[in-house]
């Protein structure tokens, strides 16, 4: 723009068309270059790099961009000379030698400024986003803990369990003692209010196992259960209380609603690039009936794994409900 103003004021042969084309040419070159860089950076995940790693990539990038800019601009200027003056101008190589240095320095300056601005903007954006997501994750993990606490303190569960233990005290004292131990551990775990959002799979499965064993004392033959998990996955980290929630639902909406109860199967397996957790129970899926617990689980997965984890619940053949969590394993 400045050069156009300069040309208009001081050059006797100022041509509006040529000036506009020059301007469009410059802008096009800049947009194409920066856009190419942006695509490349996004593809190679530059925006998530630490500052040091990012610098290692920005400096050569500035150099490459500067060189490309120089080439493109000299070619552009040369072509303009050829087209507009229609005089046998100097060959391109000579033109290049004469002008490359000035253009290169200008280009480097432009590109460096652009790169810094671009990355600073994204860096700030990322900081804001990460902070927001972490805060949200902390809140909904706490929510999940509260949900779990209220599930354990749910009158149906708690008082039926206590009533069951009362009967066992005289009918089967050994089972009564066991039930008190299990119920105590479940309550202790519910009252836990640490910051942990993830726990090793084996801890979660121990909890689920205690819960199922206690419910088995209540439902007796109406509740059958199986837990299958690969031993190698014992220390794999999963969201706390995620399987527990699915198993509670399987009892509440599955077993407790059926006269003859049924089988609950918990399965954890390693597939190619994911860990797949499934909880299967007899029952019918109520359309649109996803409660707070499942919504919370979905959101925790989204935030914890940045959209890489999946949750689905499906009804199959009218009498099987299958809940699936898929978590990336690497």
């Amino acid at each position: 723009m400045y050069w156009e103003y300069h040309g208009y004021m001081f050059s006797p042969r100022f041509d509006w068309l040529q000036a506009a084309l020059q301007f469009i040419g410059d802008v096009t070159i800049l947009i194409l270059l920066t856009h190419a860089y942006r695509t490349f950076a996004l593809k190679h995940n530059f925006q998530n790099l630490a500052l040091g790693q990012l610098l290692q990539r920005i400096i050569p990038a500035a150099l490459i961009l500067g060189i490309t800019y120089t080439l493109a601009t000299t070619i552009k200027l040369h072509l303009f000379q050829v087209w507009f003056y229609r005089i046998p101008v100097q060959p391109f190589t000579d033109f290049f030698k004469a002008n490359a240095e000035t253009i290169f320095i200008g280009g480097m300056r432009l590109m460096s400024i652009w790169l810094l601005a671009y990355h600073m903007y994204h860096y700030a954006q990322r900081e804001i986003r990460v902070n927001r997501e972490n805060a949200r994750l902390a809140i909904i993990t706490r929510e999940a803990q509260l949900n779990n606490l209220s599930a354990q303190l749910n009158p149906h569960f708690l008082f039926n369990s206590l009533n069951n233990i009362k009967a066992l005290v005289s009918n089967n004292p050994k089972a009564a003692r066991r039930a008190i131990d299990l119920l105590s551990d479940l309550l202790r775990n519910s009252l836990y209010n640490g910051e942990q959002t993830l726990v090793p799979l084996k801890d979660e499965l121990n909890l689920v196992n205690d819960y199922l064993e206690l419910e088995k004392l209540r439902f007796e033959e109406r509740l059958q259960y199986e837990i299958n998990a690969d031993d190698t996955l014992a220390s794999f980290q999963i969201p706390r209380l995620s399987i527990q929630l699915l198993v509670e639902n399987a009892i509440k909406h599955g077993i407790a609603q059926r006269k003859n109860g049924g089988l609950i199967t918990v399965k954890v397996e390693q597939l190619a690039t994911v860990i797949k957790i499934t909880v299967q129970n007899p029952g019918e899926l109520i359309a649109g009936g996803n409660g707070l617990g499942l919504k919370n689980l979905q959101e925790r997965l989204d935030l914890e794994y940045k959209g890489q984890a999946e949750f689905a619940i499906n009804g199959q053949m009218h009498d099987i409900v299958l809940a699936t969590i898929t978590i990336p394993s690497a």
């Binding site: 009158p155 008082f159 009533n163 069951n164 009967a167 209540r218 439902f219 109406r222 006269k259």
Partner: protein
């Protein structure tokens, strides 16, 4: 005194065992059976005709309420529940008793005390009606008037009324003919509540009920009623 015949209904075996343990101290109760769901219970109630139910509310497939609604004749009921504040609120509390599990012995004793005061043998015919989110026990001997309203029958008893989903014809079949009389297309009256029968100028009869209501009897039914009164 004749023993009260009891049916225990709960989906958990240990919960039934608990009620059994509590009942053991009361020689006036005799356990005639146990049921672990509403369908089993309905079958046993119709077969064995118990006087008293200990009934869990939360059961698989059909709740305790649904069981009672499905019965033509409802025995005395003591609800047992782990906790169901909404259901408890829905009761017309004076009509029944409910115990929260685990059941304290002194609370159970109080329930037995209430029962002795309230119970009359043989049990009067009652039904269990859900009307506008409220549950009601309705004793037929207390119903003075039944009116037809579209697909419903409206039962008037005391100063209350409830809607029952049945046609008047269907209901007439079920009712005790020595207690209820159909006076016209739309009304059935409890004979016990008739205060005066007055002839109208056109030969029909008019009824004055003890509640103060005046009702008209149709031509055909006037003839029948005259016969009935003579005998």
């Amino acid at each position: 005194m004749k023993k009260l015949r009891v049916l225990i209904i709960d989906d958990e075996r240990n919960a039934r065992a608990e009620v059994r343990t509590l009942i053991a101290d009361y020689s006036e109760l005799e356990i005639i059976g146990e049921a672990q769901n509403a369908d089993e219970a309905k079958e046993q109630i119709e077969q064995k005709n118990p006087d008293l139910l200990f009934l869990d509310i939360q059961m698989p497939e059909k709740s305790g309420f649904e069981l009672l609604e499905s019965l033509n004749k409802v025995p005395y009921v003591i609800f047992t529940t782990a906790y169901d504040q909404y259901a408890v609120k829905a009761f017309e509390v004076s009509a029944l008793d409910y115990l929260v599990k685990p059941i304290r012995e002194e609370r159970f004793a109080k329930a037995m005390e209430n029962l002795k005061q309230r119970i009359t043998l043989p049990a009067e015919d009652r039904i269990f009606v859900k009307d506008r989110q409220q549950y009601h026990f309705v004793t037929w001997s207390e119903v003075h008037l039944v009116e037809s309203m579209d697909n419903y029958a409206r039962l008037f008893y005391g100063d209350k009324n409830v809607f029952l989903k049945t046609s008047l014809n269907q209901l007439e079949q079920k009712l005790d003919a020595s207690m209820f009389f159909r006076i016209n297309r739309a009304q059935i009256v409890n004979l016990k509540y008739i205060d005066k029968i007055m002839p109208a100028p056109d030969g029909r009869l008019k009824l004055l009920l003890k509640t103060g209501d005046t009702l008209e009897v149709s031509d055909r039914q006037s003839v029948k009623l005259k016969k009935l009164v003579k005998t």
